[in-house]
């Protein structure tokens, strides 16, 4: 696989990695808490992009399996037969090209989409709790910059010891 082929094949991953690192950089470098949470959001979204690029099949369609009439029995039979085979624990390892299309149509891999739906939810949940904390921090310290908070704490400690 020569260089160009490799680049074409893996360009998506490289871009996703760059986005991930931008997100991480924002989180770590900034002192402002709101910008930190935004960076966290960017970082998580780019991780989700990594998952989704993994699941894309060229020429595939969104994993909504149509009720293809002629494909139905085939699928049922196929499904039935599959049902039997999966009775034993190990699922047959699919390897040949013929097996890729389902009911005659190629679909993209649904698993990353399921995982990412959960991921997005977790992202929002963390964002909401983070923002709630920032609201209270701002009420106590009148600022959402980490330096100001540390300063206030330092003064408070000095006053306490004095």
């Amino acid at each position: 696989m020569n260089g160009m082929q490799f680049l074409a094949g893996h360009f998506n991953y490289i871009v996703v990695i760059i986005l991930m690192m931008t997100g991480l950089y924002i989180v770590i470098s900034t002192g402002n808490m709101v910008k930190k949470l935004t960076g966290l959001g960017v970082f998580q979204t780019s991780v989700f992009q990594l998952y989704i690029t993994m699941g894309k099949v060229t020429g595939g369609r969104p994993p909504i399996v149509a009720h293809a009439p002629e494909g139905a029995e085939h699928a049922a039979a196929n499904g039935g037969e599959h049902g039997a085979s999966t009775a034993d624990t190990a699922v047959r390892m699919v390897h040949d090209m013929a097996d890729v299309p389902v009911n005659g149509v190629i679909y993209s891999n649904p698993i990353p989409h399921v995982l990412i739906l959960t991921g997005i939810v977790v992202g929002v949940a963390t964002l909401a709790v983070g923002l709630a904390l920032i609201v209270r921090i701002r009420e106590t310290y009148d600022s959402i910059e980490e330096e100001d908070v540390e300063e206030a704490e330092y003064k408070a400690r000095k006053a306490a010891n004095a």
Partner: protein, 348 residues
């Protein structure tokens, strides 16, 4: 790893390239800008463009959720919690910049190191695409009679994950309730109004906004329900519908004030809703247990036809998710707007 698979260069790759370019531009802009307002809006744009990219990568459900959440609710949440004590963030100190740059470089190098062995983009025979993913595609229709494989995997095969997901939302709602309270009394006395708006210039100035919003709200709610009940045939499901319906109420709150919204959809109802959804979801699982099979097994719900049982089970947990998500989004919105920071003019 299928060595001889070559990704064809066609229209879609060009669109992907442009979308990626946009993402990079927005990403860099967020790094360099320090105006918090711009950052919030750029974050919204970032998740919108990534939603577009998801659409071009056939991930329609995820695009739907990302657009609804990333671009919609997150921006509103950020603004709700908006704590603009000062409009611009302090620029990061150089030493911190270099330290973080170094860490980021190291992690990036680790990932780049892994890229060489990754299956090339879109290769149907790569490990993830050819194994369990394909198995789901084959078995989803016969097992659950639901065309949208993502919904069937989400709700039935990996239903337990989604129970975890719903509990995560509930925990977040609970957290905001605990940290911010829902605008009732703040340690004893009723929240004093920062600025007395009643007689201020908020007379009937915004008729346009009011009339259009009144017209839009029923439409949004209906669209939300459409998304909920058509989760089986296309993108959609409990979570997205919950967000849409919550945003309808939030629009109402934006126009007519949070107190009016609280009068219409009281915090108590919302708190009960948040808990009720998770209980419905868990209850469906326990029903499977009581009827003698394993936890979260819907086949037994309908004795005479397993797929129908699956459909029933999936439908009920989607409703559970809808109620929880909608209520938690409102809990969070009430929480944020109840502790309105009185930003004085000097720092505006």
């Amino acid at each position: 790893m299928n060595a001889d698979f070559i990704t064809p260069l066609d229209a879609f790759t060009i669109i992907d390239l442009i979308l990626m370019l946009m993402l990079l531009i927005v990403g860099l802009a967020i790094v360099r800008l320090n105006d918090i307002f711009a950052i919030v809006m750029l974050a919204g744009v970032y998740s919108l463009v990534s939603a577009l990219w998801f659409v071009s990568l056939d991930a329609v459900d995820v695009a739907f959720t990302e657009a609804a959440v990333g671009a919609g609710i997150s921006t509103v949440l950020m603004l709700g919690a908006m704590l603009l004590s000062s409009r611009t963030a302090l620029p990061a100190k150089p030493v911190r910049k270099w330290a973080s740059f170094f860490i980021v470089l190291a992690t990036g190098a680790a990932l780049m190191y892994a890229v060489t062995d990754m299956p090339s983009f879109g290769d149907p025979l790569s490990a993830p695409n050819a194994y369990v993913g394909l198995e789901y595609l084959k078995r989803s229709l016969p097992d659950t009679e639901i065309p949208n494989v993502v919904s069937s995997v989400l709700a039935s095969y990996r239903g337990y994950d989604t129970l975890g997901e719903t509990s995560v939302i509930l925990t977040a709602g609970l957290g905001v309730m605990l940290i911010l309270g829902m605008g009732g009394k703040i340690n004893g006395q009723l929240k004093k109004k920062a600025i007395d708006y009643d007689n201020a210039d908020a007379q009937a100035h915004h008729t346009v906004l009011r009339v259009v919003s009144k017209m839009m709200i029923p439409l949004i709610v209906l669209y939300g329900f459409y998304v909920q009940f058509h989760g089986d045939f296309g993108p959609g499901g409990g979570f997205q519908a919950g967000v849409i319906i919550a945003s309808a109420v939030i629009l109402y709150a934006l126009i007519f004030g949070v107190d009016a919204a609280k009068a219409a959809v009281p915090p108590l109802v919302v708190r009960i809703g948040a808990a009720l959804g998770v209980l419905i979801y868990g209850g469906t699982g326990i029903a499977g247990l009581i009827l003698g099979s394993n936890y979260l097994d819907y086949n037994v719900l309908d004795p005479h036809s397993a797929p129908h049982g699956q459909e029933l089970g999936i439908m009920s947990i989607e409703i559970g998710v809808l109620i929880t998500v909608c209520s938690v989004m409102l809990v969070i919105f009430y929480g944020f707007t109840s502790r309105q920071p009185d930003i004085t003019d000097k720092d505006w």
